[in-house]
Amino acid sequence: MDYHQLLRDSLTRLPTVAATIDSVRKSIQDRGELVVLYFNFDRYSKIEEIYGWEKLDSVLETTASAMRDFLQQSTLASSRLMVAFPNDDDFVFFHVPQEDAVAATDPEITELMTGLKEAIATQIELVHGEDIAALFDIFVGRALIVYNPKLRLERQIYRGIREAANASKSLEHREEARKVSDLRETLRDRGLYIEYHPIVVTDDQRVFGYEALARGTMRSMRSPEVMFEIAAASDLIWDLSRLCRDRAIEGMGKLLKDGELLFMNVDPADFADPSFDVDTLNVKDPTRVVIEITERTAIKDYPKFRGRLKEFRDRGYRFAVDDAGSGYAGLGSIANLEPDFIKLDISLINCIDANFIKQNLVETMVRFADEHGAMVIAEGVERKEEYDMVKSLGVHLVQGFYVHKPSQNAVGHKALRIAPVLTDQAAP
């Protein structure tokens, strides 16, 4: 690594801790104290996992610039923002009160952090859209260092950073516990609604079906990723899945037109739930329901799993492999499931117009689907260029903000070009 990269993060243009310590050494010694804040972006690893490292790089750039803008206009303008480590995703903040100023009080800092959180969330939603913004979460830990000349300054600061990082972690744990209780409340009150995201025929953009996306009515439960993550950690997956399925099927009868299909996400783990079977699902016409199984979850017992699929298939249900191409497994594992629909992983669609490898992989998938009597769905189509490209590659169906955004009324209306700003209000 280049020497300069150790001092300044190439991605965010923020200095590193080592470089910052040197530049604030004198003022810390003069003022005798330092407030350290540690910013822990809990779900950024999830963004990287789903969308790839390039996406998180770009989200981090947005984050850093939103933070910089916000802090510059705040009362902490003279303080220092930096990265914990070059190319990592945690940030550190030093607040050294200026000579003639009073140190910011704890409530002042708390208030600023609330504003900061809102500012970053708004910017991320604006630049990267709702789905990514829903994965934004920030936990701020704090430590106060009172300068002791007997100790080496660097070590005092590193200890402070560790203390602040731990504080942010324990805050995160408290928050997780709160979310588990929010989830229990959601399950008890059936506090969940469905947004229906249109899937259209690529050629004429006619609505073919809708994917049901569950959203919690509580703000903390708005993102399905978060809800399911909390459910998995607290052993509530079956309960949550059941509620999502019930709600999606309820809405189907009221909102979907004849002939339109309902795409419903089912986790392979749900097939082990005794209450999930062909007889208890309240579906009038199974041929209009497509069960989406994600390729991300490892299927442990293939023969048994295929047996369960057959029960559903025999009743007329159809299957889609979700996130196809997200793993290294290739086409063999997809063929094993004999899907009727293959939903391409979002990372294959993102900027497909500029990447010939993605084009080649999608082309291969379309050929494979044609040979197996399946249809390929490109999801996450956000730009005209992406739409034109998947169309030219023969992709049968398209889903994404470029054609329609999800809605509670299952009405295919055009997406807004710029996503609306996040609000604090829970959805109706």
Binding site: D2, Q5, S10, L11, G52, E54, N87, G325, Y328, G330, L331, S347, L348, A354, N355, F356, I357, K358, N360, L361, T364
Partner: protein, 132 residues
């Protein structure tokens, strides 16, 4: 002098015969070419020449093509704009998926035909951001 239609290209292949054939052919088509015969030299040349396009062999002793591609794509100033074409004999789903993970933009199957190679170079040059 490099122009927009003929930006500088870095060719990386541990087999000097291959590398030289590609160099001669692309030079004859007007591209300024730099050649490196291993991963370390490739990264060094990358910083010096600042190529717009890299033709990168996958199978090399030491630092292989995947590693070199990832490092180039994560380069603080050049990573975003450079386009990388992997030259690989391994043409299956897994390899292409791996190529994507490292940030590669295109690939050419080995053994390659020179005409196909030129077409691949051209389609990538067309997608380069216009030089300022």
């Amino acid at each position: 002098m490099p122009d927009n239609a003929h930006p500088p290209i870095l060719v990386v292949d541990d087999n000097p015969d291959n590398a030289n054939i590609i160099r001669d052919y692309l030079e004859s088509r007007g591209y300024p070419i730099t050649v490196a015969y291993n991963g370390d030299d490739a990264l060094k040349a990358f910083g010096e020449v600042k190529p717009a396009l890299v033709l990168l062999d996958v199978m090399m002793p030491g630092r292989d093509g995947w590693q070199v591609c990832r490092e180039m794509k994560q380069h603080p100033t050049l990573g975003k704009s450079v386009r990388i074409v992997m030259v690989t004999a391994l043409d299956d789903w897994v390899n292409k998926r791996q190529a994507l993970q490292t940030g590669a933009d295109d690939f050419v199957e080995k053994p390659f035909e020179l005409v196909k190679l030129a077409a691949t170079v051209e389609r990538n040059v067309k997608l380069l951001a216009p030089a300022s």
